[in-house]
């Protein structure tokens, strides 16, 4: 199998990126001008508290030694300790992770079908009426502030009409589905335009590909060409779309979770930022970066697995 060299090449790039992520998240805390111990302790802390925090977190050691401790802790699975909750960050992430994962999956389920339909409708006749309308709607959709849309939807569909709960996570699978519908819908409305644009571009690129010309030369009808030649070739771009989505999704859910009071990682992130719980911020940034890297990697490997050309 020629897959093996590809996988190993891709995996070999990984340590560099991971090391980079460690450096960036480590430097995050030392980025602020002044003393990180004072930052952790807050403005009103006494000199003794600051000294205690400095000593407790090893901030009195030289920078390189702190970095080595940080990396060693990471390798041991310790991504820090929350000052606010007095618990390990990993335990917090474990606790807050499920609503976010559920919401993310929900958004993907809600966003992918309309994306595929809209992109196909656009790409069937580029420049046609349908394409123009979808394009304009897509550009307009990108300009809507997600948090505003979320507030307005919770006001009218939640509080006004009483169809959906406006906050929280609910009990059980169907409770989650019911509670997270509005958050997922608000995120999807903003995500669909981004995805449609990139899938449309991929589909149109395929319509000018040589194999389409060949099919046409062999006398295949336009409908047959579209459904049997172009569309299967667009599966890969759709898969790659999932990779593109991750970063957008994480950013989008952070805000939406805050609006709908969903107890997820985004709400934890914002709460920690406002509560100056910087080790949690650091740990979450690391986790989000790791998630992005892993999903991109999986998408790349899947692409290679499905598409023999990538392996060449």
């Amino acid at each position: 199998m020629t897959l093996l060299p590809l996988i190993s090449r891709r995996l070999l790039q990984l340590p560099g990126v991971l090391a980079g992520i460690c450096v960036v998240t480590f430097m995050l805390l030392h980025l602020a001008p002044g003393d990180p111990a004072r930052l952790l302790a807050g403005d009103r802390a006494s000199a003794e508290t600051i000294a205690a925090i400095r000593h407790q977190n090893g901030l009195d050691q030289p920078l390189w030694q702190q970095f080595i401790t940080y990396v060693a802790n990471l390798l041991a699975g310790d991504i820090g300790q929350s000052l606010r909750f007095q618990r390990p960050v990993s335990a917090l992430i474990h606790q807050f992770m499920w609503p976010t994962l559920f919401l993310t999956g929900y958004v993907v389920l809600l966003a992918v079908p309309p994306t595929i339909m809209l992109a196909i409708a656009s790409a069937r006749r580029p420049g046609g009426v349908a394409d123009q309308i979808i394009r304009v709607l897509g550009i307009a959709g990108l300009t809507i502030p997600v948090f505003w849309l979320a507030i307005m939807m919770s006001r009218f569909f939640g509080a006004g009409l009483g169809w959906f709960p406006v906050s929280g996570y609910g009990q059980g699978f169907f409770g989650h589905l019911h509670h997270l519908f509005l958050p997922a819908l608000s995120t999807s409305i903003w995500l669909v335009p981004v995805l449609t644009q990139s899938l449309r571009a991929a589909l149109i690129e395929k319509t000018t590909a040589d194999f389409v010309t060949t099919a046409r030369a062999q006398g295949a009808g336009e409908g047959e060409i579209f459904w049997r030649t172009i569309l299967p070739n667009a599966v890969l771009p759709t898969l790659n779309l999932l990779g593109v989505m991750v970063a957008f999704l994480i950013g989008g859910t952070i805000i939406v979770e805050t609006v709908y009071a969903v107890p997820g990682l985004g709400a934890l992130m914002i709460g920690s930022l406002l509560g100056r719980d910087y080790y949690v911020v650091q740990g979450l940034t690391l986790t989000f970066a790791l998630a992005t890297v892993i999903i991109t990697l999986v998408v790349d490997l899947l692409t290679a697995f499905i598409d023999p050309r990538v392996r060449l």
């Binding site: 948090f147 849309l149 006001r155 970063a247 952070i254 930022l273 406002l274 940034t285 989000f288 970066a289």
Partner: protein, 281 residues
């Protein structure tokens, strides 16, 4: 100066389409509003009037009043100064830094280019919003720190775009001709390469203004950007969130304003991008 001239000639040769004209009109309108907010706003944006708090839209208060009786319409107008300025100050530093580094790394290649590509890989590993959020969190909430964080993270996208364009332009005959004629490297970069990538940068920068404005409003909304009582659309929406059941207008109108400004930038950027692609092909 020469570049300014080229820029103006490019702009003059641009045939404006309908959507682009509409977009330019929206942007021009907001620009005027921002300049004259002091004169055209019917009320003092910060004047508290408890007697008329949470008032519905009326002839006196077109967009209603908020929880302390401030006129929402006047505040929306005044906030346009902050949000419009945010678009400019948020886009220009990453654009300038990214363009410079992208030009150098694309044109000269070598070690600089390798280092740059590693930085790009690394930045791509972080979700944009998370990284900016974390940096602002550590530096401290506020508009200036938001701008700094945006510059720290945002330049990479511009540099990558410019680098890709430079790699193509570098191989063109006119650059080879300039090299054969013995022009100095800085002269080639500034007078031959840069003018040919400027169009894409501007088109991207205008579209980027939408994202910057939305990010700025989002940061204001979660309390990490503009700080109350400063009138900013995101801050206003956050202010109104607790009262949305009794007074939807406090949230509704600032969002509408943000959308309209966003539409201006989005359609202008889209039009410029299309022209760019049409010229290229």
């Amino acid at each position: 100066m020469r570049h300014v001239k080229i820029l103006f000639e490019t702009l003059r040769s641009v045939r404006l389409t309908g959507p682009m004209l509409a977009a330019a009109a929206i942007l021009g309108g907001w620009f005027l509003v921002a300049l004259t907010a002091n004169f055209i706003a019917p009320h003092d944006p910060d004047a508290i009037d408890i007697v008329h708090m949470l008032g519905a839209p009326s002839a006196e208060h077109w967009f209603g009043t908020d929880q302390v009786g401030r006129d929402v319409f006047s505040r929306v107008l005044h906030a346009s100064r902050v949000d419009l300025l945010l678009c400019v100050v948020g886009v220009l530093p990453p654009l300038l830094i990214g363009t410079t580094l992208g030009l150098l790394s694309g044109y000269f290649g070598g070690v600089v280019d390798v280092i740059f590509m590693r930085i790009y890989d690394l930045t791509a590993a972080f979700p944009f919003f998370v990284l900016v959020l974390a940096i602002v969190g550590v530096l401290g909430p506020g508009l200036s720190n938001f701008i700094i964080a945006l510059a720290l993270v945002g330049w990479v996208t511009y540099a990558r775009l410019v680098r890709a364009e430079v790699l193509v332009v570098k191989e063109s005959e006119y650059i080879q001709a300039a090299q054969c004629l013995g022009f100095s490297q800085p002269a080639i970069l500034l007078h031959h390469v840069l003018p040919n990538v400027m169009g894409s940068i501007i088109a991207y920068g205008v579209s980027d203004a939408v994202l910057v404005m939305l990010a700025g409003a989002s940061f204001g909304f979660i309390g990490m950007g503009a700080q109350p009582p400063l009138a900013e659309w995101g801050v206003m929406i956050a202010d109104g969130q607790s009262f949305v059941l009794q007074a939807w207008w406090i949230c509704f109108f600032p969002g509408l304003a943000a959308i309209s400004l966003g539409l201006g930038f989005a359609f202008l950027g889209d039009g410029l991008g299309q022209l760019q692609r049409a010229q290229a092909s």
